[in-house]
Amino acid sequence: MMLDRIMERHRETLILLRRNRKIKAGASILAVILAIAVIGPYTTEYGPLEYTGAIGEPPSSRHPLGTNTFGYDLYSQVVYGLRSSILIGLLGGILATAIGVLIGFISGYFGGIIDELLMMLTNIFLVIPTLALLIIIAAYIEHRGILIESVIIGLTSWPWTARAVRANTLSLRNREFVYLARMSGMPTRSIILREIAPNMLSYIIMVFILQFGGAILYAVSLDFIGLGPTKGISLGVILQQAVLWNAVQLGMWWWAIPPGLLIALLLTSLYVINTGLDEVLNPRLRRQG
């Protein structure tokens, strides 16, 4: 009876995915924000670092988000900045997920001394505060671009993923169908790729969503401290400038509030989607009634 019910859930997963309110709401917000990042730059006549002649002007029809002290159009800055922040998030998120999955998988699948060493390493990097580590790394890099920034973020934020993936792998590795694959003479490579990996896919997607959000957050924080891309614009850089030039104290809220709001909404949508997925895949979290 119990087993039958478990199997039933499997069939229901797809239906539940489509019905989940959290996933629907989160995906809608995410879609809008992504659309802004993609289309936004084509909807403005100003470059992000182009002097417009209007200095410190509040939002108007000409400048939907106003201009800052240097005469830059903030709408342009935000849409371009959003684009690069998302790009860093994607690259950093992918890298962090990849490293975490790789380490977690090797650790869980092969076990033994490899496992103990990798987990020691993971636990160590889990405790070292990531942002502090990022700061001392970034500070020594002379020319920082989007790529470098996402690489160092990816290299420092994988540990929790490794730990989670390891647990996931362990439970899959000792499933009978994996044993049977071994007894059917299947090569290790195809056992991993065809039997185990597909079962981890939904989990890895959830991990990636969180890593994507995490990378964006680390990137804006680095930018904000002044260790962002040495050239170009990002949401973090806009905020750094805003604080550096006392935007808030000078009453220019349009300089400092919208970029952060956008980040917060983007991350909210990611977290909400993730929780929705979790509810679908982990029925104990579902609310009854």
Binding site: S221, I225, R284
Partner: protein, 332 residues
């Protein structure tokens, strides 16, 4: 017995972490691509005075003429003597002194923010888990709070409470002209400066705790012991109390992970309010390319995080009976 074993195991991990952090701190300037040492050296040209003293210290600390392993040993030796080098930007002050002066500001900010957010967040989360209507209202707010970058929350608070309704000072730890003392006027002044950075940290962390607690309780309420209690007619309140207790335990472990994030939050928040903690210090160091100061701050942050993690682990081991028994080696 189990307790000691558990704590011992944790201590080993933290010592190893400290070792790795120090090693990274040593290695990054030496092995980063793009000749970071060169950058460092070039800084001496801009030193206002006594470049020579600085240079000799530098060669001693970095011992660039010596083999790597010797450089490494010397680095440790200096560290264990409490020598973190000399600041370039605040020359000739010692990095250790500068950092130790900034550290209390972080502690007064982070520790209360973490504790209060933990308590209030868990309480709100538990409330949301039992009340459907409240849940629907509160959850989106919690998600938004936890998704906000700390420094942006700081900016919002600054805009509301220092500009729109100017009731709090916009920057610093206390007003210029007042010197630190235990007088009431100083304390009030200090708290006025402290409240906004504190609130920034509090609000963002609160969201995360509340979400975690709410989900854990719902998870626990679906557990077999909850079903059993319900089958025996236990009132909701009682079942909830049991669920709350079990849901709280992972939240304590979460506390350990949160410390690292809180530090990140504090670093950026302090920048918004020019609050003179390690974060603000780091910003100064970065802007002035004062690498010794930066690295010293990093080490102190790591040590602080390690100590708090260790404290949390001990608390956890005392609160959760499972730790004691799984580490005694008696069962499974």
């Amino acid at each position: 017995m189990g307790l000691i074993r558990y704590i011992g195991k944790k201590a080993v991990i933290y010592l190893a972490t400290f070792f790795v952090a120090v090693t990274l701190n040593w290695a990054i300037p030496r092995f980063m691509p793009g000749n970071p040492i060169g950058i460092l050296l070039s800084r001496f040209a801009t030193l206002p005075e006594s470049a020579e003293v600085m240079y000799s210290y530098f060669t001693q600390a970095f011992g660039l003429d010596k083999p790597l392993y010797e450089q490494y040993i010397n680095f440790w030796r200096a560290l264990l003597n409490g020598d973190l080098g000399v600041s370039i930007y605040l020359y000739p002050q010692k990095v250790r002194d500068i950092v130790l002066e900034a550290l209390p500001y972080d502690i007064v900010l982070i520790v209360p923010a973490v504790i209060v957010s933990w308590i209030v967040g868990n309480w709100l989360g538990a409330l949301a888990s039992t009340n459907r209507r409240l849940d629907n209202i509160l959850m989106p707010i919690f998600y938004f709070l936890t998704a906000s970058p700390y420094f942006w929350m700081a900016i919002v608070l600054a805009w509301v409470f220092t500009v729109t309704i100017p009731i709090f000072p916009p920057s610093g730890a206390y007003s210029p002209g007042i010197s630190p003392s235990l007088s009431l006027s100083f304390i009030v002044d200090f708290l006025k400066h402290w409240i906004l950075p504190f609130l920034s940290l509090l609000l963002v962390m609160l969201g995360g705790w509340a979400i975690g607690m709410r989900n854990m309780i719902i998870y626990e309420l679906e557990s077999n012991y909850s079903r059993y209690m319900e089958a025996l007619g236990a009132p909701n309140r009682l079942i909830l109390r049991y669920a709350f207790r079990n849901a709280m335990l992972p939240q304590i472990t979460g506390l350990a992970l949160q410390i690292g994030l809180a530090v990140a939050g504090a670093i950026t928040t302090e920048i918004v309010f020019s609050y003179p903690g390690l974060g603000y210090l780091m910003l100064q160091a970065i802007q002035n390319q004062d690498y010794f100061l930066m690295q010293g701050a990093f080490l102190v942050i790591v040590i602080m995080v390690l100590i708090s993690n260790f404290v949390i682990d001990i608390v956890y081991a005392i609160v959760d009976p499972r730790v004691r028994y799984t580490y005694t080696g008696e069962t499974g």
